[in-house]
Amino acid sequence: MSIDLSQFHQVFYEESYEGLDAMEQGLLDMDLVEPDAEVINTIFRAAHSMKGGAGTFGFTDVAEFTHVLETLLDQVRDGQRAMSQDIQNLLLASVDCIRGLLQGLQAGEASDLTEASELKKQFEAILNDDAPAASGGGPETPKETDDNSDNGDGWHIRFIPEITLLQSGNEPVRMFRQLADLCDNQMRVTCDASRIPAFTSMDPEMCYLIWDIQIEKAIDKADIEEVFEWVTDDAEIIITPLSEKSEEQPAKVTQPEIETAPQAEKPPEPVVQAPKQEATKAAPKQTKTQESSSIRVSIDKVDSLINMVGELVITQSMLGQLGQNFDITRVQRLQEGLAQLEHNTRELQESVMKIRMMPISFVFSRFPRLVRDVSISLNKKINLEISGENTELDKTVMEKIGDPMVHLIRNSIDHGIELPEDRIAAGKPETGTVNLNAYHQSGNIVIEIKDDGAGLNTDRILQKAIEKGLVVEGANLSQEQIFDLIFQPGFSTADVVSDLSGRGVGMDVVRRNIAALNGSIEVTSEKGRGSRFIIRLPLTLAILDGQLVQVGKEIYIFPLVSIVESIQLDDLSINNVGGHSDVLQLRDEYVPIIHLDDVFSIDNEKRPIEESIVVVVETDGEKIGVVVDELLGQQQVVIKSLEENYKRVDGISGATILGDGTVALIVDISSLSKMSGASSKVLDGTHQAA
C-alpha cells in the first residue's frame, strides 16, 4: 500500500513554522545565565518534532540540519553544556535558516543549502570542541552479531525471558508467530517448565516458562534477532546454528549483546570554546510575511456561531408561520418577531466577525527579535515592553499592519533612542525603552509605539521641509503641523541614509498603508523625552462606522474615524479668502470649507449657510470642513465595491446598501480634499488666530 504523504505536508509546514516561532521566542526570552528548564525543553521539543516530521515526510535536508541543532540542544537540556550568547546567536540564525528552507520547499524550489552548511560547520565546531562525545547518534548501529553468515540448516533458539517479561506488554506467542512466518512454519517449539515455582508462590502475571525453538529453515540470524529486539534486555536469547548443535544441550555461548553503540561518554564539564562568531548578518533574513489563506479558529467561536444560527432559524420559522395566517391583530407579534430577528442578525454578525479576529500577539511576536537585532547592530541598548498583546483584530488588517509597524519601530530605535553614552549624558538610563501597546477604543483598535528617546527635533524637521520646498520659508506652523511633516513623501532628516531607515520613503508609505486600511496615524513628541505614534484601525475592513449625511435628495456616508466634529453654523463665521475659498474660524485655526453639493455636482437648492452643518474632517493631517444639509444617524455599513462594475470615482471610496435597499455612496475624504483643491497650504502666510 502506498500512501501519498504529501497530504500531510501543509500541516507539517504550519506546525513547523509555529515550532520555529516558539524556538525563537524561547531563545529571545532566555536568561543565559540561568535558563529556565521548561524553556529549554520547549526549544528542544520544537527542534525534535521538526526533525522527526521532516524525516518522515522526506525532507532530508531539513532533517539533517535540525538534527545537529537537536544534538546541541540535547546537551544543553541534560546540563552537559551551558548556554551562551554565541550559542544563542547560532540557534537564532539556524531558526532563520530552517524557515528559509521550509519556505523554499513549500514553494517547490530547489533548496539552497549554503547557509545550512555554513551553520552546520559552526555547530560541529562547538560540538567537537569538547571531549569526543557520541556524535549525537547517527543511524542505529547495526546489532553486533557473531556469526551472521553461517545460516547452516537452521537455528536453535533458547529463549529464557525474565519473569517480568509480560509486564512490558510483550507476549512470547506473538514472537513465535513471527518466527513461524519467517520460516514457513518449519519450526518446533518445546516448553521448559522447570522454572515454575510451587503453586502457592506463583504469581500469575509472571512468565516462568522457558522455550526451546528449533527452526529448520535457513533464515537469517538477523531476522531472528529482529523478532526479539524489544526484549533483548529482558531475556536471555541464545541463538545457535542448528548444524553445530545437538538438540538437547546448547553450550552456552556468551550471550550476544544486542546492545547498540557503546554508551555515549558523558562529556566533561563543557567550556564553550566556540570560536568567536563572525558578526552574523546585521538584519535577520527577511521572512516573507506569510499571508496564509487559512485561519485557526477556537472551537468556542464556532460553537457560539452554530448556536446563533440555530436561534436565527427559530426566529425565521416563527416569522414564517406568522406570515402564513397574518391579520392585523397580529401586528405586535410581527414587531416582536422582527425585533428578535434584528437581535439574532446582530449577534450573528458580531460572531462571524470574531472569527476573523486574532490576537495582535501574532504581529507583536516579530518584534523582540527585530529589536534585538537592530539594537545590536546599532550598538544601542534597548528594552522592548509589550502590553495588550491579547487585543484582537481582523486577520487581514493584522497581516497588513505588520510592515508599517516594523518601520515605525526601526525608526524609534534608529532616530529615537540615543546611543548609550548620550543617554547617560542626558541623565537617562543607559537602556532605552520602546513600549508597544494595543487596546480597543470605541470600535477601533489602537496601537501605540512609544519610546523614551530624543523625541522629534522640530527645528531640524522644519528646516528639512523648507529645504525640500514642502513649506514656505517663514511659515508659522504649529507643533502638530511640524510633526505631521514627517509623513510627507520624500521627507527624511537623516543626514546619512542608514541601512534601516532614513531613506525617506518610509513614513508617507506607512501613513498610506494605514489609510488603505481605513485607519489613521498620528504622532506626539516631546524633545528630549520621547515620541509616541498612535495608530487607529477599524476592527474590520469590510465594515465601516459611518455618519450618514443628507445633501439635496441624496444620502452620503462619512467614515466616522475621519470626523473631528460637526458644527451648526449659526454662530460661527465663514470668511472668504482670495475671492473663492471659504474658510471657517475654528477656535485657533482656520479650516477651509467645501460644499459637497458643488464638488459632487449635486442638484440642491441654495440654502443659507447658517442652516447647514459643517462636518470637520481630518485627512493627511489636514482639516477641512464639508458643508452638508443635515446629519442623519450613525451606523455600521458594509462596504461594497463601486469599481467592480463601474469605475473609480474621485471622492468616493465605495458604496453601501442602506436598510431600505437603496445605495448610498461612501465619501473618500482624502480624495475629496484633493478634488476640491482645499488645503491649509492656502493658509500659509496667514497668521494664526490669537
Binding site: K640, L642, G651, I652, V663
Partner: protein, 160 residues
Amino acid sequence: MSEVSEVEAPVSEDGVLTEQYLTFIMANEEYGVDILAVQEIRGWESATPVPNSPSYIRGVINLRGTIVPIMDLRQRFGLPEAEYGNETVVVVLKVFTSSGSRTMGIIVDAVSDVYDVPIGDARNKGLSDNQNSNFIKGLVTVNKHMVILLELENLLTIED
C-alpha cells in the same frame, strides 16, 4: 451557409445557425442585444447618482447586494431625455471584457421580443461613422422591420 459548427448555436427549422436576440424599443426604434448577455429585466426604480459621472449614467442600484451602474440608453445615443413611464424597464446585461466581466443595466422604453437571427445576416454599417456607430454591430430585418443590433462591449465601456 457556413460549415463551421458551433456546438451551442441554436438552429432554426431550415438548419441555419442562428443567434438569439432580445429586442426592445427606444425612441421608436427597435434594438436588439445578444440574449446570452441578458441577466435579468427589472422595472425601473430610482438609482443613486454618482458624482461627476457622464450624463448617460443615471447612477447605481443594488442588485441583490452588488452595486450595478445604470445607463440611460437615450442619452448614450445622444438623444434627448424622456420621462420614464410604467413600461420603462432596466435590462441588466453582463459582458465579458478583456479585464474581466462587468454587469450594467440599460434603461429602455419597453421590451419587445426575442428573435432568432441567422448568423451573418446582420448587414453591417453603411451607416455614417458617427460616435454611435461603435455601439452598433449591424442591422437586421425581422418580420419586415429593422432591428438594430447593439455591440455591447463598446456600449458598456465608459470612457474616462
